[in-house]
């Protein structure tokens, strides 16, 4: 990156409100286009997935992490490094399943949902569903197949926002076609 851009402000950062409102504009647009909460959830997850697939590269390049030994280590890195780096928050990890293949991320201040109040009649909408897609996409790129879904959302009156991750299986390294 060139030197001269470093004058005022940090060029690696963007105003949080601009980000939040931009996301809001997107969700509002999707709601207008699809007119169905479930469809919007799906669309958001798809976009998140696309983001996650690309984000992981940036993450690995900057965070200097190596392969995780177990899912607990993964959870720690997601929260302490991933969320911290890209959204500036550190979700609390809790509610581990006895088998250690499922956990929840608890988010107190979701930056995506600032300024937001869900209008009535959108009980099925997971406003921040893009996060599920991002997590799924990013983890898939490091050979982990996981299910990600919203359990609770402060926007719906819950006390906390909770995202649940479930480890399904390890993916085999897929070698791109035409390469040995």
């Amino acid at each position: 990156m060139s030197r001269q851009t470093a004058r005022a402000g940090d060029p690696r950062k963007v105003n949080g409100e601009l980000f939040t409102l931009t996301y809001g504009a997107l969700v509002a647009q999707l709601l207008r286009d699809y007119e169905d909460d479930e469809e919007v959830n799906k669309q958001l997850e798809k976009m998140g997935y696309n983001i996650g697939v690309r984000l992981i590269e940036d993450f690995l390049a900057r965070s200097n992490t190596s392969r995780c030994n177990d899912f607990r280590e993964t959870s720690d890195i997601i929260s302490r490094l991933g969320f911290k780096m890209y959204l500036g928050i550190t979700p609390v990890i809790s509610n581990w399943s006895p088998a250690g293949d499922e956990f929840s991320l608890l988010i107190e201040n979701n930056p995506l949902s600032d300024f937001v109040e869900l209008p009535e009649g959108h009980t099925a909408l997971n406003y921040s569903n893009i996060l599920c897609g991002v997590l799924k996409g990013a983890l898939e790129m490091v050979q982990m197949d996981v299910d990600v879904w919203f359990v609770q959302d402060q926007l719906k009156g819950d006390n906390i926002t909770e995202i649940r991750l479930k480890f399904i299986k390890r993916l085999d390294d897929a070698v791109p076609a035409g390469e040995d």
Partner: protein, 188 residues
């Protein structure tokens, strides 16, 4: 009903506006914006349509930003003079949103309704390489939308368009009424 449980908990809309929000990583924003551009592109056929769509989204952002900005940056006062408004946009507004002043503010030589704000490299364009067959596409149309909404919201009705010129130039064409009113205000 979703709203019932809310009274006990602090409502999102009751939070103080004063402090502003922590910044987020530029990569997060860039990737989100890229998804937005792709989404819009899949729903339109031509470059101007795409730019319109982006501008619409920008307007949504701008109209919501307006109150926050004026509460925080201008101490609840509205701006009534055209020049001050333009300077506010070039300065405070740009700084809040993009971390720096806009590079240049100019007035058209032959037209007192037209002003230009010039930004060499807008954040939204930083990570976008325009495909060859869409040479005229400038995704800063999004920023133009934000600008337009802010100007309209502060009662300086204007059209803002985006052009590739010295980087990116936002051309602001004010409504005739704005200029007439401004002359009256100046005369007092």
């Amino acid at each position: 009903m979703a709203t019932v449980g809310k009274q006990s908990k602090t409502n999102n809309l009751d939070k103080s506006l004063a402090k502003g929000k922590p910044e987020v990583n530029v990569a997060t924003f860039a990737l989100l914006f890229s998804e937005i551009v792709q989404y819009c592109q899949n729903r339109v056929y031509t470059v101007p349509e795409l730019q319109n769509k982006l501008a619409e989204l920008g307007q949504h952002v701008g109209s919501h930003l307006l109150d926050v900005l004026f509460v925080r940056e201008k101490g609840y006062k509205r701006e009534i003079k055209l020049l001050n408004m333009l300077l506010f946009i070039k300065g405070n507004f740009w700084r809040t949103l993009f971390g720096k002043d806009a590079d240049k503010l100019e007035q058209a030589n032959d037209d007192d309704k037209t002003y230009y704000i010039i930004e060499k490299e807008p954040v939204v364009n930083k990570f976008i390489s325009v495909p060859k067959d869409k040479g005229s596409l400038n995704c800063a149309a999004f920023t133009a939308g934000i600008l337009e909404a802010v100007l309209n919201g502060t009662n300086f009705p204007a059209k803002v368009t985006v052009h590739w010129h010295k980087g990116t130039t936002f051309m602001i064409k004010f409504d005739e009424s704005v200029i007439i009113r401004d002359k009256m205000v100046e005369g007092k």
